[in-house]
Symmetry: C3
Subunit: 148 residues, 3 copies
């Protein structure tokens, strides 16, 4: 790749982009598989999870784990299988060696014996930081498309 | 990777594949974000956008930008959020250092306060060309699955 | 990348991950394009395709091709276009130089003149093996979300 001007800002390099893609795949499989603790450990200790549907964010691993436990219990009670798809990742270098990622997300829900539906369509913006050679989410901001 | 025979034709190399994936992510985020000018600038000056739903193609950046402006205005009027997902990229070397990409596309629409739906399912075929170290679309042919 | 401990198990390296992603893209385009023979050839001669909806698996290329031929004929008869999306790939080194991949899958169906729907939402687990510099599926286990 020549170091010329592109029509669009350059993203992160190949290895980093794929690291992040794999991080999201494993993170979502933890969440959808009901591993609330494993999911919470993909955030920093003081990690923030915010959406445009709630005026207050969920802050810190303990609260993030608790919210995931509660959500998994509700899904089990309703007999729903839920899967998060993250895609269209646009990753850019952030401050202090971190990465800012903008992406799209779909939440698919399937009832036992029934048809899958798209429960939510969203955009996401993450601030990722290095930790022990891997990545952690320091801040995740989700914008639900159905919330004006 | 040994240079042996594969059961399928080889695609492009790793860095190139990811460059294209990132190009599409940024391109779709421009389109869905209502940046019609930025979207048009991801095509060549004489770029072509064709679908199997229209007998005539949209040709040239000016026409492509105008079509995107009009589409964004209609969506805003109807209170819809629209997101394009491109995936299942199969990229192969093309003529003159270009790349031919075949992919799948979904268009997700969400009304304010309502449930997301898949508005369109499509296959796409692009001819991409190098420009200033990045990529531009010279020709995009979209095949909508609902159009016979 | 420092060789430190990550909060999640490390996946495969960048080139390998992308090889697999491209393999799946080409494999699904073969299946959805009605190329039952080409699809079957992406499995080993004794390849296994199993789902939680059938107590018996489909074993061997000939049976896999026959099942795909029959499915393509049914879709054509019903006037449906079908597309498989595989995503959220979590790839890990397997035994004998192979790779184990866990992923999500959506099957989108569109009737002529109608709206696309998600026909199936699934999780998949593949055992891939090297063959002539490419990859083949030795075993694929699909878990449909609607089947309890």
């Amino acid at each position: 790749m020549p170091a010329e001007q592109s029509t669009m800002p350059r993203g992160v390099d190949t290895d980093l982009y794929l690291e992040i893609q794999q991080f999201y795949a494993a993170q979502m499989q933890a969440l959808d598989g009901g591993d609330a603790t494993g999911w919470a450990e993909t955030f920093t200790e003081d990690g923030v999870f915010a959406t445009n549907a709630d005026s207050s964010a969920t802050c810190g691993r303990a609260a993030i784990a608790q919210a995931a436990h509660a959500a998994a219990a509700r899904l089990a009670e309703e007999g729903l299988v839920q899967r998060h798809w993250l895609g269209m990742l646009d990753a850019r270098p952030g401050p202090d060696g971190g990465v800012r990622v903008r992406y799209y997300a779909l939440v698919i829900r399937t009832p036992g014996g029934g048809d899958p539906v798209i429960w939510r369509s969203c955009a996401g913006a993450d601030e990722l930081v290095r930790h022990d050679g891997g990545w952690l989410v320091r801040e995740r901001r989700i914008t639900r498309d159905d919330v004006g």
